[in-house]
Symmetry: C2
Subunit: 317 residues, 2 copies
């Protein structure tokens, strides 16, 4: 619990250390996370998602400025597709944001999307909780939103912003169902580019067509030029409006509940698998089943159901 105590006092070194321990999945980190849990649920969590090149990092950089001027402390979690295929841009983006690194009120961490035995969602939940317990007022989560895991992360956010740039093709038409579900706020960045107004009109038409209940939040659209620091204040106002809406309509409590549910399910999933593996790895039971699969004496569905039946019979689960 040594680290947890220091995290609660806002100690940056201890926090970085605990995040590393969580990443390395040290058992001691679980104990620290347990100790921190009572102090979570206070940060306002904002998701920023969009394709590479839409300008997420630059926008976050600008948002940090505005929030800092309002006296808010900030955590940033950049979900970084550090596969061999993500290109070199990511590193440059991180470096851009690091101009805030000397500001004690800003804490930035990249989280690789690979190698999370326990799942990216659980890893992200843990880092959110650490920054939350550390006392950050606002946590910004940046994701490229390409995979299922990244989309799951949106479930942890209070406000989700989807970033678009003009000239990205007719995907608004083809994929609109997915967008409508996710976005609380649309940010059309690089709004000086040709087609920004058309994109806005398209989005507005799309939103008009969809049947929102009178009580529901209707996604707002903001035009920004992040590199020129244009439109950022208006966007921040929009975020605060959404926050007030959530508080007024009980959405804030719903969010806390959904976040707790997700965390529980993620932890339960990996705990269960750990538990089951400890048992089935004994006596080569798993290896025997795999051998049966290779030799087509069974199939994965029957084998899985055999494992569960066997464990249930033996009262071992």
């Amino acid at each position: 619990m040594r680290l947890a105590k220091e995290v609660l006092q806002g100690n940056i070194k201890a926090t970085a250390r605990l995040i590393r321990d969580v990443e390395d999945e040290l058992p001691s980190a679980i104990e620290e996370l347990k100790a921190l849990y009572p102090y979570t649920g206070r940060s306002y969590i904002i998701g920023i998602t969009g394709s590479p090149g839409s300008g997420k990092s630059t926008l976050i950089d600008m948002l940090i400025d505005v929030f800092r001027k309002r006296g808010k402390t900030i955590g940033v979690i950049a979900i970084d597709p550090s596969s061999p295929f993500s290109g070199g841009a990511i590193l440059g983006d991180r470096i851009r944001m690091q101009r805030h690194a000397t500001d004690g009120g800003v804490f930035i961490r990249s989280l690789a999307t690979r190698g999370w035995r326990g799942g990216l969602s659980r890893a992200t939940a843990n880092i959110i909780n650490i920054m939350d317990a550390m006392g950050k007022d606002i946590i910004l989560i940046e994701t490229v939103g390409a995979g299922q895991a990244e989309v799951d992360i949106i479930n942890f956010t209070h406000t989700t912003m989807v970033m678009l740039v003009p000239g990205m093709g007719d995907w608004v038409q083809t994929l609109k169902a997915g967008i409508l579900e996710i976005a609380d706020i649309f940010v059309i960045n690089k709004a000086d580019k040709k087609g920004a107004d058309e994109l806005k009109a398209e989005l507005e038409a799309m939103l008009q067509m969809s049947a929102y209940s009178p009580q529901a939040w209707k996604p707002k659209i903001f035009l920004t030029e992040a590199v020129n620091n244009k439109g950022i204040d208006e966007l921040v106002e929009g975020i605060y409006q959404h926050k007030e809406f959530l508080i007024a309509t009980g959405g804030h409590d719903t969010h806390l509940k959904e976040r707790a549910r997700l965390e529980l399910i993620e932890v339960l999933k990996s705990s269960l698998m750990d538990h089951v593996f400890q048992i089935v790895n004994k006596n080569n039971y798993l290896e025997k089943l795999i051998d049966d699969l290779v030799n087509k004496r069974t199939d994965p569905y029957s084998a899985a159901s055999d494992i569960i039946k066997k464990l249930a019979q033996e009262g071992k689960l």
Copy 2:
């Protein structure tokens, strides 16, 4: 089992229908998959991964030509990051490949990366098995390799090709560890672009530095211009060399075993969760725990361990 029987006879409509049923997670689809399982394990599975714009779809298009001329039947599974953020290129790519759609020896399916309650890996494993049982000699899996799930899929392939294009920045330097793990074959596509030879030299230096055991496969590098159909025959030779290497060194059997293991684990994971949820959803037990979490009377780790203990005590798991 009606569909399974027709899939085994190579019926395209029945196969498409079963894949849809699998996507919709119909219980009947599980029975069909069980019936097909004995007929799996015969296809040669090739993974093709690289960033958007590296030319994967065009290369696959060309590979299909070469393999068809050699009399091979082909299945293609395009893992499609159909999030709202993937841009419009994907659809165009799919259409490009569809010139083979009238060829009965080619079966192409896109698989969205979103919305897989049971996980993308399991979904992919199922589609592979269906195409495998259908009698496809070769299955090509195209992924952008951005997320954990996409990387997991590489575990299902015999030969993994990583596509690079010149001028993508210095990521070879920064991310080389990840690449070395994954690739059996490097394809430098758009080899007419400036920097192709430098990229090849960089890769070669990288491979030289890494300590391969004398028995291990050393990744090969091929230069291609997919749009001009250049270098494809040589690449296909490289794939066959890797295949022969696998067969000669027992790697083929290891692959079948690893594939079986992964399938079992994926199915076990979702079966276990289904099983546990059925139990904890009774008597509002899960809701009570979530309420405890929100009110900080417990934490996710303690709550998950409580669930497992409770189920074990009651002999219900």
